[in-house]
Structures are given as structure tokens and as C-alpha cells.
Symmetry: C2
């Protein structure tokens, strides 16, 4: 099978390099960063850390080069989903395209350009340290399932999950993938922007009883929005927060949004708290705290202009 | 009459220098900043900007020097009220002490140390530019009235208001000074921390419809807390927000809390949004957005540690 990873940042690279280990999978990577593309084509895509992997694959910054694929795995930042998928959609006329991105709203953006869409949530994480080189920080599971309004066939979803699992990225195919997605969304939306607004690491946000109360109030709004959609969370998002706050896990970790704010990069707020609020409005659930956090982070972004 | 200004920062200096123009008022200033004290004693206290004034007065950093006074005017940052008033309380055994500070809770702190307390709210503003020198940015009115649990006599309040007014600081004595105080509190609590969290100037906070909606939601919580206490606001705080956002007024003004955050100085959050929330709890009104803003600003303060 041929798979194209769309957006070969840290998460995309974990899928691309691991899938490239399989003899029966041909991996492509589409990315606009030319030095990264060139390095991958010259020396392979190298993962270090939680796993040591060198993936041999075909990278390109030219959408026209990409051959027809059975699968796409979209791993761009959420705000770039629509633009990136529009450019490569021709490769997926017969294929299925899966999001492994943060937040909500990505599958909707993908479905504007392709016919068969897979909803996905992934927990592995890392960071790009140099062109062609990615540090693999955290292993973890991925869950994928049909995107309800424009679903990929379940047999295809199982085929992609099987390939990822064989490649060392444990992936489960389920009929309803919304539970894990909303669990991760609620976790991210309750903690990420609080770190970004205060400058505190994850552990310091969660150990402060007053801030933890705000985190929990944000979680409660998210749970209400999930519940109004009939989504059954697979676990309580609070467990993720407790876990990530442990000294040996993420106590000193700066949330990705705090890293974005410090680097003055646009954040994914519209797909995190903004997504919770948007789905809330669509289902008659008010989310005043998620609204507040959204406009505060967007205010921070505006302050750079 | 003898008046001691307690805390001779910008606002204290406006009262001290102007009152020192009156032949029948002897002005003292108590401040812990020795260079400022020395400069005032050597060269007078100089105001420039909205008014050009040089006040000849007696400044000291030694509480024991202060002679018995008919009036105190407390103008420290809110978190220093209790400590400062405790040190100078001996001077006010027969006198009345008035707060002209930001926020709520200052009169309560003063009343722990003196018998007769005056509730006050003032709109003039400026900044200390050098020892003994203050830039007077904005003229404005002051309203004073009895602090209900431990009131100064109305005749004394009128006497202080009369002196301030004659000195060029228009001051009104009223039976209930809570209306103007809560109007200014609600205005400050709705705008100041939003600037501090986002890095945006006052005008940019207020022109952004999404941020302005958050400002208004904070105002609404404040109004509900005022109303639960039976406080009649003298005007709508939104008018202050509209006014201050005008290009020729405060569009490019960084809120004092933003200045504090940029300088990594402790903010007055406990007496602004924290005060709204505290009085809300005491009167059975929930204030989730003021709670959120309070813990976020305190999180920012913790991030410096």
C-alpha cells in the first residue's frame, strides 16, 4: 500500500519513519519545508529518543509529484489543514485520509476536499530537532474510526490501523473515535492555554489549587459539550491531567501553546478551546470560560502585530 | 489643619502637592522611598503636565516623626495598605483616614488600625518620573464618604473635601461613596487584567469585538455583585471603557497592571477582580470570569518565582 503523510512535523514524522519500516508500505511525505524534504531524501528520516528509527521514504514539497495513495495521514498544525489537503487531494481520489492532529474540526476541513475521511487521535509526541531529524519524546496509542458525515469504509480503517500497529505505532480501529478525541481535546484545552497565559509549566499549573480549579472548570464545560453530542469519553480527562503533572512526566514541560506564544507563533486555539466553544454553540451548551480563554489567547496573538 | 499623605506615589503626590498650596493646611508625606523623601524635603514636590505645581511639604520615611493629624490620605498600592497604616496609625488617634486607592478592601484594612475611616475613589492619575517629580497625566474628580462600619463624621468628610477642592483636586462629599468606587472598580477589573494577560493597550483591548465581549461579561459580574450589596452605580462603567478607548485618551495606554506585569511587580489583582469575587462570595453571587482572571494573573506572578 502507498501512504502519504501530509505535514511531516514531529507527529507526522513518527508515522512516516515507522511505517517506512514495513516492506509492504511505500511511504511519501509532503511538507513545505524544503531543507527537511531534502534531508529526508538524502539521509532518511531519523527518530531518536523513545525509539531509534531511520525511515527511507520519498519526501516532496511539490504536490504534483505525489502518486495516487490508498491512505493519507494528515499531521499539519490545525490551521493549515484545509490549505495542505487541498493541494494534495488529487492523490486521494481513491484513498482514505486520516487526521492525527490536535483539537477538533480537522476532519471537517479534510472532508471539504476528499471523499473518505478517518477521525483520529494520537498520543505519541516529539519535536523536530533538525531537517530530517526528530526527537521522539513520548510513545502512546492512536485511535481511528470513521468520520461520520463522510466515512472511510471500516475495512480500510482496520487496514491502516493494522499497518501502523505492525510498524510500532499501536493503533486501534473503532466504530466511534470521538471519545478519545474529545478526551484529548478537553485535556489540551484545559491545560495548554493556562500555561500559555501564565508562563507556567504543566506541573506548576496543576499543583496550584486555584489554577487547578480553573482547569477543572474548563474540563467540565468540555464534558458538557461532549455529552450534548452523545459522545462517551473513553476515560476522564482529569486522569490525563493528573498523569501529566507528575514530576517524572511533564512537570517541567512547557505546553506546546506556551512554546508557540514564547516564539510568537500562531497557536491552535481555534481548534482547542475555540473548537469546544464552537461545538458547544452548535449544541446549545454555553462555554463562557472556554470563550474567555480563546479571546485572551487571540489577544496575545494580536499583540504581536 | 494637618494632613498626612500615606504613600507618596503618583496619586498621593497629586493630593500632597496640591494641598500644600493652601495656607491653612500643613502637609506631611510618609513614604519608604528615601531618595523621594529627601528630594521632596530639599526641592519640594513638583507636578508637571495637566498642572504645574510645586508643593512645599514635610516628607519622612520615619513614622515616629509624624505629628498628630486631622486627616490621613492613604495612596499606597492596595497590598501595602495594612502595613503602612499600622506604622502611622498613632498620628490619627484623633483624626480621620481616607483611602484614595484602587479597588475594594482598602477601607477594611485601614479600619483595622484607626477609628474613623473615609471611603474614597479618585480619577486623577500620573506617574513618578524621578525622586520628587511626578507627571500629572489626567485630571479628574474624587468622591469621598463615610466607611459604613467605622465612619468618620460627615462634617469631617466635608471639611476634607472642601480643602481638596480649594487646592485644585475637585472632591465631593457624599453619604454613600460606594457607587463611584464600584464603578471604577468594575471598570478597572474588566480592562486592566485583560491588557496584562494579552499585552494589548487599552484601546486595542476595547476595539476587538471578542475581547470587548469578555470585558462586558466581566462588567456584568461586577454589576451583579454591586447590586447584591444594594450599591447604586452612579454611572455605567461601560461609559468609562468607551471613553478610555478613544484614540486621543488612552488608546495607546498600557494598563497599570500590564506595566506591573512587564516590570514583574506584584499586581493589585486581589483588590480588583479578587475583590469583586470576594464580595460576590460574601453576597451569594458567583463570579466565574473574575475568578478565572484572578487566578490567571496570580499564575503570571507565580511564574516569576
Amino acid at each position: 500500500m502507498r501512504v502519504c503523510v501530509v505535514g511531516c512535523g514531529a507527529v507526522g514524522a513518527l508515522f512516516a519513519a515507522n511505517l517506512a519500516q514495513l516492506d509492504d508500505v511505500e511511504v511519501w511525505a509532503y511538507d513545505v519545508w524544503r531543507e527537511h524534504v531534502d534531508a529526508i531524501n538524502s539521509n532518511g528520516l531519523t527518530l531518536t529518543g523513545a525509539g531509534e528509527v531511520v525511515g527511507r521514504l520519498r519526501a516532496t514539497a511539490d504536490p504534483a509529484e505525489i502518486q495516487p495513495c490508498e491512505f493519507g495521514i494528515v499531521a499539519t498544525k490545525s490551521m493549515h489543514t484545509g490549505g495542505a489537503v487541498a493541494e494534495v487531494a488529487h492523490a486521494f481520489r481513491e484513498g482514505s485520509v486520516c487526521s492525527v492532529q490536535n483539537g477538533v474540526g480537522n476532519e471537517e476541513a479534510i472532508a471539504e476536499h476528499v471523499e473518505r475521511v478517518i477521525r483520529g487521535t494520537t498520543f505519541p509526541a516529539g519535536k523536530v530537532v533538525a531537517p530530517g531529524r526528530v526527537q521522539w519524546d513520548v510513545k502512546g496509542d492512536t485511535t481511528i474510526g470513521p468520520f461520520e458525515p463522510r466515512p472511510a469504509p471500516m475495512s480500510e480503517i482496520e487496514r491502516l490501523a493494522g499497518a501502523c500497529t505492525r510498524a510500532g505505532m499501536p493503533t486501534k480501529a473503532v466504530a466511534d473515535a470521538r471519545g478519545p478525541q474529545w478526551r484529548k481535546l478537553i485535556f489540551n484545552a484545559a491545560t495548554n492555554p493556562i500555561g500559555a497565559l501564565t508562563g507556567l509549566t504543566h506541573g506548576r499549573v496543576c499543583e496550584d489549587p486555584a489554577l487547578r480549579a480553573l482547569v477543572t472548570a474548563l474540563v467540565e464545560e468540555g464534558k458538557a459539550v461532549a455529552s450534548a453530542q452523545g459522545i462517551q469519553l473513553d476515560e476522564d480527562p482529569e486522569a490525563l491531567i493528573d498523569y501529566a503533572a507528575k514530576p517524572d512526566v511533564a512537570y517541567d514541560h512547557k505546553a506546546s501553546m506556551l512554546q508557540d506564544v514564547e516564539a510568537r507563533r500562531q497557536t491552535e486555539i481555534d481548534f482547542l478551546n475555540g473548537g469546544v466553544a464552537r461545538f458547544g454553540r452548535a449544541h446549545g451548551v454555553t462555554t463562557p470560560l472556554n470563550d474567555a480563554v480563546t479571546v485572551l489567547i487571540k489577544g496575545v496573538e494580536h499583540s504581536w502585530a
